[in-house]
């Protein structure tokens, strides 16, 4: 399983992680092709966010290997890993953070791998934030920030979008709207979408899903 299949956007095998003094978290193998949507469900504390950070290359796993867009993560070369992540991965956060001193437009163009101005403007129009681009993040509403966050995750045409609890703070109507938006743009860019959530409302909307086992020992090291 350590061999990566060339067409896969993401493949992860035999991943495990252990926090200092905590119990071992092990994760099921993952395999995502372009355009595929996967829901990773599980209660709080089962290591969902840890999985997301492992997949993003921000945490080195205890065991196992990950490849993104055909490139294996090598944790001894952090600069290369920064490049792989920057080029191929877009992350949508539950609470999106931005550079507060930059405008929405500048935040959108932050990525060193960002698309051309014209493409970004088109993206902003599709997401419905074209009229907000001159504003600073603190001048925008939560919903606007959410949309800006999605736009930023797509700004460099990543092969994989990781979404961390994108809907858990929203009511049912907005929840489905955000999900719809994520899926639409992922499809449009032919990007794989991996949504990590404990929000059961999404279960009916996305057929492909895995559930992380609840591990009682891990609950002592809740990481959400």
């Amino acid at each position: 399983m350590s061999n990566t299949i060339p067409s896969a956007v993401l493949s992860a095998s035999q991943l495990s992680y252990q926090y200092r003094g905590g119990t071992l978290l092990s994760f099921p193998d993952l395999h995502l092709d372009p355009g595929e949507v996967l829901l990773v469900l599980g209660p709080s504390g089962c290591g969902k966010t840890t999985l997301l950070h492992l997949l993003a290359g921000l945490l080195p796993p205890r065991t196992g290997s990950i490849a993104l867009a055909g490139q294996s993560y090598n944790y001894t070369q952090p600069a290369v890993l920064d490049q792989i992540r920057g080029r191929n991965l877009g992350i949508v956060y539950q609470q999106p953070h931005f550079i507060d001193t930059l405008t929405a437009w500048q935040n959108l163009r932050l990525s060193p791998f960002a698309q051309s101005k014209e493409e970004l403007l088109e993206l902003a129009q599709q997401i419905g934030i074209a009229h907000l681009l001159k504003k600073y993040p603190q001048e925008m509403s939560a919903g606007e920030l959410q949309r800006l966050g999605i736009a930023r995750a797509l700004a460099h045409r990543p092969g994989l979008i990781l979404a961390d609890e994108p809907t858990s703070a929203l009511d049912r109507r907005h929840c489905l709207a955000v999900l719809e938006r994520l899926q639409t743009h992922a499809r449009q860019y032919n990007a794989a979408l991996l949504i990590v959530t404990h929000d059961d409302r999404l279960m009916t909307a996305i057929p492909q899903q895995i559930t992380l086992d609840y591990q009682p020992a891990a609950a002592q090291n809740q990481q959400v």
């Binding site: 950070h53 921000l58 600069a79 920064d82 956060y93 931005f98 550079i99 930059l102 791998f113 460099h156």
Partner: protein, 415 residues
Amino acid sequence: MITRVAWASVTRRPLTTILCVLLITFGTSITSLLLLVNQQMEQKFANDLAGTDLVLGAKGSPLQLVLSAVYHLDAPTGNISLAEAAPYLESPLVKQAIPLAYGDTYAGYRILGTTADFLDKYGGTLASGRVFTEPMEVVVGAEVAQQTGLKVGDTLLGAHGETADADVHADHPYTVVGIVGHAGNALDRLLLTPVASVWEVHGEHAHEHGDEEQGEHAHEHGDEEHPEHEAHANEPEEEITAVLLTLHSKRSVLTLPRVINQNTRMQAVLPALEINRLFYLLGIGTDALRLLGGGIMLVASISIFMALLDRMRERKHELAILRVTGYSRFQLFLLPVIEAGLLALLGYVFGLLLSRAMLWWVNFRAAADFKLIFSQTWQGNEVFVLLGTIALAVMAALFPAWRAMRVDVVAALRR
């Protein structure tokens, strides 16, 4: 892009930025001003020296003699007898001897009795007219001409003493025969006339003005020590104020003064030495100002350090975003360094402007006293102020930069 993020963080946090920039501005402006004033004073003093090796004059303060005879900034120490000076002026050691006889003033400017050599020595070229040949002819310096509107053919009356309302020698008018072009030194502020004019105005009339402290009329008639020197026996003793000597050999610069100082009532002074002494004395004040400038710079770098550290602490999630977006640790390290560099650059530019404003004020207020106008142009060694400022700022940024580089992305994103 990192530069843009740094620039945004500098411009979007005006209060911290203003504090840091203000401190750097004060620090650099003081340092720049010192550099400018010091360098130009030394240059100016060196220029006005115009190759004079020795100044011969009446005994008294050597510095005063140099200031009065070379720079025309002070009252002379007194007069010397031409007869007593003559053997030294004709000495084979001497290449050129230019006599100076202080007489009167016109509109506050000195009328200086001398020879045409003085004009050449100070690089004066005539803008109009000719050089004086006869007594009571006068050649006017550029600044004097500009201020008083004198032109060739005009006559003027010398006033006795330095003030405008002093006695006027109404019976001895001078005739302007030439105007000197701008020379950029003492020449601009003088009216030159043959030494004989001064004798004519003062010699034939035994004035008793009682202003001995001015030294211009310390006539001591009948006190001749060299009665054999009777070139002008029909006149009272001919006196001059000082002589500017240029020697053939630099070695005699040290021996000749000893001979003169031991054997005569005159003194011979090395102007370069006296000016060095003056700068040494001024240097104590400059050092204090330099320390002040350095202290302000130190406080500036501490404030940069604290501002950046604070910022890196409260903006951890921004750093995390940058890392996730694809920026390397090294680029995160650069972020506070560039911010500090920008603050330093801003402070330096404002400091440069402020130093010019202060210089303008110095020129405006003190030009008449110092008889110096400081140039406002950028001096080459101000680049060291810039480099020093940036170096201090970057040093202040190193620790915050290290912290930025080491930011725990996972922990920052979880918040």
